[in-house]
């Protein structure tokens, strides 16, 4: 229930005689629009002419198309932990995990598909990833001719990493204790109970 104190009754301001004719206000408004018109005509409008001009983006935190990072040995950095798929609010990430052939991790993604049409580019997957394998790139002009085409698989995502590696180097916080998942040299011993048998 709304309390009496919370109800604010407003009186509309009374207009004086000239204001009730509206003519001075209309003239005021026309001066404002004329000023904008003159600004656009004699100075440049603020529009960015897109295909010819590109906006200057902040590479570090622009949220565009995803990429799947490689580690320093060129393997996919993902450990198929499903954290990103769980964090994803629209469930656009589909991972199939398989037993890893490498001895620094248990699992790796056999399939890693992202439906770019379903994605809302919130960046939660990037936040959730413990090994920083999935990242968003500053590329926003991804187009395709079919819906199927817009579902990017592992190879596509890795090739996006290859294309954007120089633009945006892989961030490197290593949270898990597994050695070699990041580019940072190994410092700490892996926790005992999580260490690979």
């Amino acid at each position: 229930m709304i309390k009496d104190d919370d109800i604010l009754l407003l009186d509309e301001p009374r207009l004086n005689a000239a204001e009730r004719l509206y003519i001075p206000q209309i003239v005021d408004g026309m001066i404002v629009t004329l000023r904008h018109l003159g600004k656009s005509l004699f100075k440049r409008p603020i529009t960015v002419q897109y295909p010819e001009e590109q906006r200057q983006l902040r590479v570090e935190n622009y949220r565009g198309v995803h990429r799947l990072n490689r580690d320093e040995q060129g393997r996919v950095a993902c450990v198929a932990c499903f954290m990103c798929a769980t964090a994803c609010p629209v469930r656009c990430i589909h991972i199939e995990a398989g037993e890893s052939a490498w001895d620094d991790r248990e699992k790796y993604p056999v399939k890693f598909d992202i439906d770019e049409l379903r994605c809302i580019y919130c960046g939660m997957c990037e936040e959730a990833c413990p090994v920083d394998a999935i990242e968003l790139t500053p590329h926003y002009d991804l187009v395709g001719r079919s819906r199927q085409e817009m579902i990017l698989d592992k190879e596509e995502l890795l090739s996006i990493y290859d294309g954007t590696r120089d633009l945006k180097p892989r961030k490197n916080p290593r949270i898990t204790g597994y050695p070699g998942t990041g580019n940072r040299p190994e410092q700490a011993e892996p926790p005992k109970d999580e260490a690979k048998a």
């Binding site: 109800i7 509309e12 000239a18 209309i26 408004g29 026309m30 629009t33 018109l37 656009s40 409008p45």
Partner: protein, 403 residues
Amino acid sequence: MVEFLTSQLGVSIILALVVIGVMLGSVAYCIFFERKIAGWVQDRFGPNRVGYRGILQSIADGGKLLLKEDVIPGHVDTPLFILAPAIIFLVAFVGFAAIPWGGQLQLGENLVDIQVAKPDIGLLYILGVASIGVYGVVLGGWSSNNKYSFYGGIRAAAQMLSYEIPLGLCILVVVLTMGTLRLESITLQQTEYWGGILPMWNVILHPLAFLVFLITALAESNRMPFDLPEAEQELVGGYHTEYSGLKFGMFLLAEYAHMITASGFIAVLFLGGWHFPWIAWTQPEATAWYAVIAKMLVLAGKITFFIFLMMWLRWTLPRLRFDQLLRLAWKGLIPITLGLFTLAVILVYVGRQQSLPWALLGNAVVLAIVLAAAGLSQVEVTGRQANLPSIRPGPVSTGTART
């Protein structure tokens, strides 16, 4: 038998063809400039992709409308559905026939008028033709057999009928001052001077009538802020909801043709038509071909100014609510124009040559009365009316629920 085969007839036919051609072209480019001005006012570029700076945009638009599928829905009254855009398109263009474009031209020994037709009732002709336009709107709404379209047509009819009264009264002010219905004589009489310097334009004699006429002309051509008949954002389009393709394009073109007619009408009635003071070529005595061209350019310049003013207003003002729209006409403009009409009657008694101080005094008096009425009246212009019951909630009893 062949008396009507004069040089005047030839000039009239050529002029009619030229005017129609120029009109169709300029209507298309009005749409382009409307969009350009919209862009500039909103700090954008406007259309700038088709051709140099978007100059071919209207041709592309026209081609698009031409090639689009022209749907005639199954439930419509087909003959009327087809007739409505034709009526509104035709009517918007026929009005130009009576507008004097450039005074008189010396052709051999004859003086011919640069005017398609010279009816004695030129003013009534334009008014009557413009009023037929309401049929196009109402028929479009009615034949669509769609409630939203029908409401749009009804709105348009109510608006156009309401605003035709102040419009007619303003024209009556001009007619009383000039003593004629012929548009060429109205122009001619405005080329005289007070004290040899100040042109006897009606806008100087009747500034308030000019202002009211401008407002009603906006309403008659369904322009912002009075474009409720086709308020596409909040009122489901209006009378042309069911139209598509070229028929829709004809409604669109007719609106702009209406704007040009209204602007030409204002220029002729209040701003001396093709006359520009202190320039010899635009005086009625100049009848050479270059003088005629100069006069046409002057009239075109005046029309362009008013079209720009209408577009400028469109991108400045928000739309009126429908009750505000009708209140403005019935409680605002009609009383004012009645006052101006009375003033014009008094000025006829004084005589036009002597009437300038009296006209300015009279306009000041009318303005003072309007301001006093606006300041003293207690009726709210907008929003909540003062005499409605209070909305403050009473005490609420809390406790057990009633059984």
